[in-house]
Symmetry: C2
Subunit: 188 residues, 2 copies
DNA sequence: GAGAACATGTAAGCGGTTACATGATTAT
DNA sequence: ATAATCATGTAACCGCTTACATGTTCTC
């Protein structure tokens, strides 16, 4: 399974970009908005928010409340917005890491439709390469019916899982590209 | 992404079950045999092999060689085989963690076809529940065309990813069940 | 009265990778 | 020459989760 590297930072920054909020709010927002493909714990959110301020990508102000613990409200800075947009526009280093790709697509409205389409096109290309390879493996295994060895049947089931997964990835990328390009700019 | 807990142990034990081998061999075997859905590093393999011996699930003997570094050849014990079979027969705690499910299915020939089918049926059930939920979310988002807000288009793309993924998971489980049950015992 | 929601943070620990250390042999 | 293969192992590090600490208010 692929590593996430610095992506946590941009998941948080993306939430702050919608409106200023506390670490507690960020947690809930990520759950509701990105919950289908992303999750973060307090153990990562709070330290990262501190770093965001140190790096000048956000500012904090403490908001005292009656009866409730006081909140630290974080606001994204101009630098933060610039950084977020830049990150969102660049293709993820591992195009098959759908987590990071999905997070970038989610932030697609910050960049351009053409850009999102470009990310998807690159991912589709990689997925197709992968699909071709796994198809070959799968067919080789199916045809090599010479030995009806014990594990063969089950091995094929695991191979087919991968086959179906990449077929599905390609299908999704294709239909998403169609909808994105059909809906806005056709000039690419 | 779900945690793997103790599954490394059984990936290794599964290799030793095919034939006695060294840690170096285990690494290569896992790459070729399980590479489509599993990977292990030396940093995990060597310490785990030591534990396997301590727990009585494997034995070691050192094999000196001329010119080459000497090998430590590990052999699975009867206890090891019993443990492996037991693990392979039980449904993974998280049925949507395909990694562990696939590893158990791969070892299906150690148990029974009926057992593997049962694991698949349980996973299919969970996947269908999940699919139903995500379908609802997806339709809600598509119908709520009230606000043509900035992020909507991209949010839908990420939701559709999940939708397609669970569709594909269900499809795979269904066709795998069919092939497993059509091929051997129909009595379940 | 119990438990959830509000709210922030830290420390311990787990699971995992990478780089390092060592060194001969064989294939290109 | 140079890289790959053979072979074992460890230490440092990273990313991440979980549990803990603290305390009020609102809801059932």
């Amino acid at each position: 399974m692929p590593r996430r590297r610095g992506a946590t930072r941009y998941a948080i920054l993306g939430m702050l970009n919608e409106s200023p909020m506390s670490g507690y709010d960020v947690k809930k927002r990520i759950e509701t908005d990105l919950g289908h493909f992303w999750r973060e714990s307090y153990g990562k959110i709070y330290p990262e928010l501190r770093k965001l301020v140190l790096d000048g990508l956000a500012t904090v102000r403490t908001q005292d409340q009656e009866g409730r613990p006081s909140r630290k409200v974080y606001t994204i800075t101009v630098n933060g917005m610039v950084d977020l947009r830049k990150w969102a526009s660049q293709a993820p280093p591992d195009l098959l890491d759908t987590g990071e790709l999905l997070l970038k697509i989610y932030h697609g409205h910050l960049v351009s439709s053409a850009n999102t389409a470009s990310l998807l096109r690159k991912a589709l290309q990689r997925a197709r390469e992968e699909l071709q390879e796994i198809r070959q493996h799968y067919e080789d295994e199916e045809e090599a019916s010479s030995g009806a060895d014990a594990g063969r049947q089950h091995r094929i089931v695991t191979l087919r899982y991968r086959l179906r997964y990449y077929e599905c990835l390609c299908l999704w990328a294709e239909e998403s590209l169609e909808k994105l390009e059909g809906g806005s700019s056709r000039h690419l």
